[in-house]
Symmetry: C2
Subunit: 176 residues, 2 copies
């Protein structure tokens, strides 16, 4: 986690949501706190990655994502593995943002995924989707996040995951 | 599911395992039964996909996979979303192969993922990994599959997933 807050080149994207005061246009969490990350799912610097952009919107963290053609399971339907990758990384950002706020920190702690459980409710059409995530519970250095993926306003997948802030000495410490 | 068994261009790859009689060199399940699939995780025809190759090895279905550099979470470590995508598709093939055998069919039924639960035990170094999957339980048209991902002989992630054969009328029916 670089904590680097400078040099963002991505213009602000308005978050989805109902327009509360905390939902003013803002920079994505990834661009703000990890602009040099190369993570496949959420790294702004991974040109072949998914590059999700997560925004705080009230009690939720939300994102809009448009898959590329090669992200299909079969023509016209989004692959479940990609759905899992989106929900994993987006939920991880919901977790580290929550832990940052809870701890009164200036930057999110570096969190890693302990587990994530994806339930695919119905096929997801290959087109724009929305991600929503919120804290289900949090104790100490970890958070359990509930998230959904929506296509055309309909929830097509749900996810519950546990994310843990790593300490100095862990291989992921300060690596994103 | 095309059921197409002809025209494979991929040379046989010996499966991992202990060399039992059922582990002779063979074509991957994907090349044998879905050579035209464009699935991100396992489609032989998706040039930007993971193109996993799953082989039957006794009671297990196994695969070797080497990630590309952009599949990292951070330099040197494999992304959890990619791990989930590998385990999801590989487990799906273990399920449809099992249901094919159970039903005495000539080709696997078209199975889709109902859910998959990934537990990340430790960071997975970005290098060759192995996948192993087996049937935990199976009733009717569904199978619960247990799978692991190994790096350097060590289990770094586990997955349990449920996969269901879809019937005529489902959007995925005969689509891979």
């Amino acid at each position: 986690m670089s904590g680097n807050d400078g040099g963002a080149e991505t213009p602000p994207t308005p978050p989805i949501g109902d327009g509360g005061a905390d939902q003013l246009p803002q920079r994505a969490l990834q661009d703000r706190y990890a602009p040099t990350s190369v993570c496949f799912g959420c790294g702004p610097a991974n040109e072949k990655g998914l590059r999700i952009k997560s925004f705080v919107a009230g009690d939720e963290v939300v994102a809009d994502f448009t898959p590329e053609p090669h992200h299909h399971a079969f023509p016209g339907v989004l692959n479940g593995g990609i759905i899992g990758a989106l929900l994993d990384c987006h939920s991880n950002w919901a977790a580290c943002h929550h832990l940052m706020q809870k701890g009164g920190l200036d930057a999110p702690p570096c969190t890693v995924t302990a587990d994530f459980h994806v339930k695919l409710r119905r096929p997801t059409p290959l087109g724009p989707v929305k991600l929503r995530a919120r804290v289900k519970e949090s104790t100490g250095d970890r958070a359990v996040i509930e998230a959904e993926l929506l296509a055309g306003g309909e929830v097509t997948a749900r996810c519950t995951g546990t994310f843990v802030a790593v300490k100095e000495g862990h291989p992921a410490y300060h690596r994103w």
